[in-house]
């Protein structure tokens, strides 16, 4: 029997085993040995073939029996010994090379992050030392007088994010409930696909949509209506209808956040154990009761995690917001007001700010604030999801 599997196959197999069985990286010296043992334990190599078609084609025809059970084929011991000796050096070298490449890759990402952070801090330093913490709550931003404060932009950013989430969360939850429990089967695939496509549309397209659709709609219908009804009692809803403003920007960013929240929510709804659902029916609940009192509470952690990720997405959104928010550095007091977010300020003025050290330092410090907020929020959201969902959803939740 000729048993000398190709190096690459051996490697893939090793990697698979290590990942599946051990879940840890091993020393190259022990790897070959480890592999021998593992292959022998595996009684059905066809289970491997589901993971890699390559292995299917080169998998040994003869199935090994477990070493604990029957004795090995008389030939195999010597073949294995031979194999170990001849290819050990080769494996060793290619392993090293591969490992080295991975280290470079890993460190490149680290270095990249460190560079971005380091350069930003260095460039922002004049502003950090001049304004200190008060930069955060100063609302004056006047390049002419060299006074810079982030408050207006921080508030604007949170306004847009808040409106976006308030709009996106109910819509996303309702749509995912519909898809998981009420929708006819033929609709599920289509809507889910559309939902994923929605997540992939560039934000500038949403911005343009906002200008041609959302702005006229708000200006001519929604905002005058709000002003004449709720606005009569609360200034918060009043104002003169422009169309542009935090409401338009928030709603459009909300549209962009919906797929993110809806996808994760639907995925977690599907994972609610069938037994739980059936138990609830057995206790006499209607479908609506089952959905609201059993399924929905079960997926709350998933929703929270996805909302945090949506927050991370919304807070950094630039193009769509820039086109719709009205770019006015004032603190909104009504949802009809215009505002300014950190990201749209940077997009609008940064190329100009570079001519003045303090001005550009202040803008970079704004960028740092945004970086810190989204870093914290994204990490929080991801950790929460991992913890609550047992890591099962880790792959489906991209960063903001």
């Amino acid at each position: 029997m000729n048993l000398k599997p190709h190096g690459a196959v051996r490697f893939v197999r090793t990697a698979l085993f290590l990942e599946r069985v051990m879940g840890v990286a091993m020393e190259p010296e022990t790897r070959a040995q480890q592999e021998m043992g593992q292959i022998l334990v595996e009684s059905d190599p066809s289970s491997l073939s589901t993971a890699s078609p390559r292995i299917l084609s080169t998998a040994p025809e003869k199935k090994f029996r477990s070493s604990e059970g029957e004795s090995l084929h008389p030939d195999s011991k010597s073949v294995l010994k031979n194999l170990r000796e001849t290819s050990h050096a080769r494996i060793h070298r290619s392993e090293r090379l591969f490992q080295g490449t991975l280290w470079v890759g890993g460190f490149f990402v680290l270095a990249l992050f460190a560079t971005v952070l380091g350069v930003s801090i260095v460039e922002a330093w004049p502003s950090i030392t001049k304004f200190g913490w008060s930069f955060l709550w100063t609302s004056t931003w006047n390049p002419h007088r060299q006074i810079f404060g982030a408050w207006t932009y921080i508030v604007g950013t949170f306004w847009v994010t808040g409106i976006a989430l308030l709009f996106a969360i109910p819509v996303a939850i309702l749509s995912s409930l519909f898809l998981s429990d009420y929708s006819p089967k033929w609709l599920v695939g289509g809507v889910s696909t559309l939902m994923e496509m929605l997540a992939g549309i560039p934000s500038i397209v949403f911005g343009a949509f906002g200008i041609i659709f959302m702005v006229p709609l708000l200006r001519d219908h929604v905002e005058p209506f709000l002003a004449n009804t709720l606005g009569k009692h609360w200034d918060f809803f009043g104002g003169d209808s422009m169309g542009y403003g935090i409401l338009a920007a928030g709603l459009v960013v909300g549209i962009m956040v919906i797929p993110l929240v809806a996808t994760v929510t639907r995925d977690s709804l599907v994972m609610v154990p069938r037994e739980t659902v059936e138990a609830s029916y057995a206790l006499g609940s209607t479908k609506a009761e089952m959905v609201f009192f059993v399924k929905l509470p079960a997926v709350v952690p998933g929703i929270i995690g996805s909302v945090i990720l949506g927050f991370g997405r919304a807070i950094g959104e630039t193009m769509a917001v820039l086109l719709l928010i009205g770019n006015q550095a004032s603190i909104p007091t009504s949802i009809q007001d215009v505002g300014y977010t950190i990201s749209s300020l940077l997009a609008n003025t940064f190329t100009y700010a570079v001519i003045d050290p303090l001005y550009s330092a202040a803008e970079i410090e704004l960028g740092l604030i945004l970086l810190v907020i989204s870093l914290v929020v994204n990490t929080l959201g991801r950790e929460l999801l991992m913890k609550l969902m047992g890591g099962r959803l880790a792959g489906s939740v991209g960063g903001g």
Binding site: Q146, R219, D240, M242, Q328, T351, Y352, V354, I355
Partner: protein, 360 residues
């Protein structure tokens, strides 16, 4: 404008610069023009026409903003830096090697959308009132200050919606220049800047967005350059000039402003003074502006000779209406420009005989 010493030091900028300058080695003559987004369309048609008539010359044009144009022309990353603004005292101190060459005229005009006021009806506006509108101190169209200047116009009681540029813009610089020169309040609080801190209103990215927002918003007031007025057949306000005349911006009245400045013996030879407001004459528009090319005296002589050729072409043949007026600029009058231009070119190429063809 408070502009302190510093050349752009960011990765993005560097990348753009290295691409621009990297291209320079490949051809016989390679000129890079970069800067003002306002001047960009004119530079594009110029570059195409010039390359057609001057084989062997390659011109790459980029629209990167006036600030980029100034700083990168000074440090030699680009051949010519385009700028909407002249070299202020601060800039001259920092970029001593730069010479500003005026290459075209444009202006800033005030556009509006007042329901009930016909397009054919001429609206007048003076600096202090305009400044108070843009500061949010005049809130309604039927304010008595506006009615006092326009006694024969019936204004609705409608809120004024101020619309301005959100990005750093030469148009904004020229507009706030007019406000700064005519209103002390504006000068003290906000000043003249490409991107000032606007007290009220809403901001849009680019002149096209401003036009769209003004047209779509009843009660709006905004400002754009000459090119946009012509392209969209907008009506703009007649602005009060130094001698008290109300003048509507047009190719003719802008040229008048330029001529008035060029014939003024006190106007500096290096062009480093605004032509906004401080000009006498009946049909002189008070908010006109030179567009500039910034050239560093440190350029190698061979490149400088090419730049000189290109500049003279741009100021003569390049001023034809098919280039300038088509792209939204007013042509420069060549004759009154010549003495000052000679001095500038002499500074760039000392001791070089300057044969300037007539034209314009």
């Amino acid at each position: 404008m408070n502009i302190v010493k510093r050349s752009a030091g960011f990765a993005l900028t560097l990348a753009v610069v290295s691409v621009l300058s990297g291209a320079g080695t490949a051809r016989a003559t390679d000129l890079t023009i970069s800067g003002s987004t306002m001047l960009f369309p004119l530079e594009q048609v110029w570059a195409n026409a010039y390359m057609k008539s001057h084989p062997g010359v390659h011109i790459s044009v980029a629209s990167t903003g006036s600030g980029f144009g100034i700083s990168n022309a000074a440090n030699g990353n680009i051949t010519i830096g385009a700028s909407d603004a002249y070299l202020t005292k601060d800039l001259r101190k920092r970029y001593g090697s730069l010479a500003a060459i005026p290459v075209a005229f444009d202006d800033t005009q005030v556009i509006y959308n007042v329901p009930g006021v016909k397009k054919s009806q001429l609206l007048r506006m003076d600096g202090p009132t305009l400044a108070r509108i843009f500061m949010g101190k005049i809130k309604f169209w039927d304010d008595k200050a506006i009615r006092a200047i326009n006694p024969d116009v019936h204004f609705p009681h409608r809120r004024i919606k101020v619309i301005h540029r959100a990005d750093a813009s030469g148009t904004t610089f020229v507009f706030t220049d007019y406000l700064s020169q005519t209103s002390k309040e504006w000068y003290d609080d906000i000043g003249r800047d490409l991107s000032p801190s606007w007290p009220v209103g809403s901001g849009y990215n680019g002149s096209d967005a401003v036009v769209a927002a003004v047209m779509a918003t009843p009660g709006a007031i905004g400002y754009v350059g000459l090119g946009w007025i012509n392209e969209y057949h907008l009506s703009s306000m007649a602005l009060k000039n130094l001698d008290g005349y109300y003048v509507v911006g047009s190719v003719k009245t802008i040229r008048n402003a330029g001529k008035a400045a060029l014939h003024d013996p006190s106007f500096p030879d290096d062009f480093n003074r605004s032509i906004v407001w401080n000009l006498h004459g009946k049909n002189v528009y008070p908010d006109a502006n030179f567009e500039f090319w910034m050239v560093s005296t440190a350029l190698p002589k061979r490149t400088m000779l090419e730049v000189k050729k290109m500049v003279i072409w741009a100021l003569t043949k390049g001023q034809q209406e098919k280039y300038t007026v088509k792209t939204g600029f007013a042509p420069l009058p060549f004759a009154p420009l010549k003495p000052r231009l000679n001095k500038i070119l002499n500074r760039l190429l000392p001791g070089n005989s300057l044969k300037i063809e007539s034209g314009g």
